[in-house]
Structure formats: structure tokens, C-alpha cells
Symmetry: C2
Subunit: 269 residues, 2 copies
């Protein structure tokens, strides 16, 4: 086992949503140390220009590389949309986005090739899910739906009540009518609303939380490159943020599913 | 009447919310030409630093001054919070914010001096409503409540249904229990939800849409300085934006309460 193995996995997002990805990485790769960077000083990325998102993603990647990461996960749909190709070509470590694994998993699991994608307006308008689905399966039919209230619902912690359910019904009924059998949760906030989303979509629709195929793809990649972390430990999680946001601890812990320890404020350009 | 009178009133906001202020200006000062600048390329201001909001507000003011405005209305709570003093000292034309007129009106109309303020997290955390109320009436009791779902509800056009009502109930019941008799709508998006807010608060609570006292204060100021526009015309409204946003026309028309004509894309630094 090379000394590289003990190095951390780097994960970045513009905010705290990426902690839902960390949650699945911790569950599926418990022996991997994780270094998370939340670029809170510059959120949201969704409203920024392509160039600016690429620049910010480059800064995040540079910071994490300097900490000696062995692989990078872009845990942000906006950054995945426009910076994945660039970073995967440029960086000296393997890079994963959250869009490709979700699309691959959706196409692998769909029986009727009718696939729904819910995401923010910014992600849907970027065209990245549509392009990624079309490139891999030109015959699949997909249905995109922006669900802008889901982010504030997740952040308020209104996850499983009449308001969350009513909102989910209003957004999802049109996509349910299209008889999709698979629904990609194309925003890192949405897994928190998984329960009401599942309730509306019904038991025959499979929900894809991108974090899970992303974690599994990373595991396979590390295994193949003999980079898996030392077995038998519960590896630490370190969180760096470029600024505080309101309700940081409450939201962070809800997304991560465990208590926040070791949070460090860092400055990056 | 000086030639200054025929000049437009300048109004700016980071987004389209300020069009609810324009709506009241159009209603209460129908003979005044209005030039609106929506700095959509840089929204939201709420998450920006104080310095950055001041810089952006300065750029917006400069643009409007170059178009020959006779007065300026800062139709944005974030910019009103941190840039009003600076702009009113620096600019050669009278400047109004939206916070001061709302606070003055609330204190003038409250009988029990128990006043509620609902706004975004950013506005409440800026402390500007609390400071403004305290400076004018140290004995008044005020109750602040952030209502983050109200902005996406307004933008989605979900204004008067079960979800809007349920959300309003959850946010407003605690403030209602404080027995306020006056509630300031401290965000330019909130007047769109006025119906459900009124329904939850009940008929004995007066809602203050900042746009109305702001328009009345402007009218009085123009009258005093002999700057009122030529009588007997329905003056034009010109809208400049620094970028397009999704659903621009639908949201803009809902906020403005009339059709959008004469929208121009402009570049400002």
C-alpha cells in the first residue's frame, strides 16, 4: 500500500449542500479521510458566469491539492456542469463530478428509459443533465423540472410536513404524469426532502441521490488504482469554510447527518 | 416650474423586487417619469459584504445620475441598510431609502408600540430595522422574523394558496402571539403575499408596505422643493437591467402590476 493511500479525499461545494455527498462518502467509504471545502464566501455559484464558476472551482481545487488530497469530488452541480472537464484534464489527481455518476446510474436502472431530473433553475438551464443523458442514451426520454422552493425548505428544516408535501406535489405531479420510473435528485439539497419526494412519486419510481453513485464510483476508482485508505479505521472528516453563513451548524449537521467537529475558517483567493 | 421638474425619478434594486416600489410610485405619483435600474447581473446583494453593496449601489447611482434623474429611491433593503447614508451625503440629488419611511410610518400608526418586522435573513442580520426603530422610539417593542420562503413563493407566483397560507402561518404565528398591532413588510417581495399575510395576522394588525410611505415621502419632498412633475400626464416608465434572469417578464409584471414595456439591457461597471 503506497503512502498515498492515507491521504484525504478532497470535496468542495459553494455551500453546505455538498455535505449530503460527504454523508454518503462517510457511509460507503468509512475508512477514507475527507477534507471538505465549502466556499461559502462566494455562494451561490448558480448565478455566476461560467468563467467565474471555473475560476472559483480552480481556487477550491488548488487549496485542496495543497493539503495533499489523493482524489477530488466536485460536490456541486453548478461546478460539475462547467468545471468538471477542465479540472479532470488539469489536475494531477482523479476528479469526480456528481452529474455523470447520477446519469449513469439512472440509465443503468431505468426500465422504460423515461427519466426525470429535478434541480435548481441554474442547473437545468446549464443544460448539463440534458446533454449528459443525451450523449449516453439518445433514445431515452427525460423530463426536467426546476424546484426552487426545495432549497429553502431543506435549509429551514421543513422536510416532512404539510408544506413540504404540498410543495413536492405541485412540483412533481407533472413529472409523475410522464410515467418516469427514475428520478434524479439533481441538487445536493434535495436528498433531505427524499421522504416527501418518494411519497409523491410512489414506490415504483426510483430516486437517485447523486451522492450514492458518486461514492460508489469513487470507491471503485480507488480500488482499481490501489488507493483505498487503510482498513479498520473510522477516518476523520475535516471541514474548511471560507465564511460563515447563518444557521451554519444547524444546516450543516442536518445535511451531514452527524455533528460538526473540526470546522476551520480559511481564506482562499 | 424649473426644467428639473420634468426629469425622471431614479430607482434601483439588485433585482426585480424594487418593481413593487415602482408600482406604488406609479400609483401615487402618476405624473412622475420613472427610470428603474435592476442590477440583475449582481444579485443578490443580501449575501455580499457591506463594502461590495456600497460599491454596487454607487455604480447604480452613478448610472442613474448620468441619465439626469432629479431624485433617487433605493428600492432595495440591503442597499438601504448600508448605502443610504453614504449616497445621501454624496449625491447632488435627494435620496430616499425604503427602511426609514416604513419605520416612521409604523411608529406613527402603532397604538401599542409593539411592532413586527418580517424580512430576509440578510436584512434582519444587518440590524438596520432594529437600529432605526430604536433610534426613533427607544420604548417601542419590536419583533423581527426572517421569512426565507416568502421570496421564492413570490417569484413562483404561489401567492394565495394552501402552501403560501401554511408558510405564512408558520412564520407569523409567533409574531402574532406578541400582540403586535403593526407589521412592516421589510422585503420588496413581500407585498405580493399581502393577502395571506393579512389573513394570518388578522384585521387588527396594520401591514406596512414600505413602498407606500416611501412614495408619499418622495411626493412631499418633491412638492417642498418644487420639483413635482408636469401635471396631467401619465408619465413613462423606463426599465434598465444589467442582465436577464429566468422568468423575467412574468415576475417583473407580477411585481409591477402592469405590462413591461421599454426594457433595456445596459452595462454598468
Amino acid at each position: 500500500m503506497s503512502s498515498l493511500c492515507a491521504r484525504p479525499i478532497g470535496v468542495f461545494d459553494s455551500g453546505l449542500g455538498g455535505l449530503t455527498v460527504v454523508r454518503q462518502l462517510r457511509r460507503l467509504l468509512p475508512t477514507e479521510e475527507i477534507l471538505y471545502l465549502g466556499d461559502l464566501a462566494h455562494l451561490p455559484y448558480g448565478t455566476k458566469s461560467t468563467d467565474e464558476i471555473r475560476r472559483r472551482s480552480g481556487e477550491c481545487a488548488d487549496f485542496l491539492l495543497k493539503q495533499g488530497i489523493k482524489a477530488l469530488v466536485i460536490a456541486c452541480n453548478s461546478a460539475s456542469s462547467v468545471a468538471y472537464k477542465l479540472l479532470s484534464e488539469k489536475l494531477p489527481v482523479p476528479v469526480l463530478d456528481v452529474i455523470t455518476p447520477a446519469v449513469e446510474e439512472a440509465l443503468a436502472s431505468s426500465k422504460n428509459f423515461r427519466i426525470g431530473v429535478i434541480a435548481t433553475y441554474a442547473t437545468i438551464e446549464s443544460g448539463s443533465y440534458a446533454q449528459s443523458l443525451e450523449a449516453r442514451s439518445p433514445d431515452a426520454e427525460y423530463f426536467l423540472k426546476p424546484c426552487p422552493l426545495f432549497v429553502p425548505l431543506a435549509e429551514e428544516g421543513w422536510l416532512d410536513d404539510a408544506i413540504a408535501l404540498g410543495t413536492a406535489r405541485r412540483y412533481l405531479e407533472p413529472i409523475k404524469k410522464k410515467k418516469v420510473d427514475t428520478l434524479i435528485l439533481g441538487c445536493t439539497h434535495y436528498p433531505l426532502l427524499g421522504k416527501v419526494i418518494a411519497r409523491v412519486m410512489g414506490p415504483r419510481v426510483r430516486l437517485i441521490d447523486s451522492a450514492i453513485p458518486t461514492a460508489l464510483k469513487l470507491k471503485e476508482l480507488l480500488r482499481r488504482r490501489k488507493l483505498l485508505g487503510p482498513a479498520g479505521r473510522r477516518a476523520p472528516l475535516k471541514i474548511c469554510i471560507t465564511d460563515y453563513v447563518r444557521n451554519f451548524a444547524r444546516i450543516g449537521e442536518a445535511f451531514l447527518g452527524e455533528e460538526l467537529h473540526s470546522v476551520k475558517l480559511v481564506k482562499i483567493p
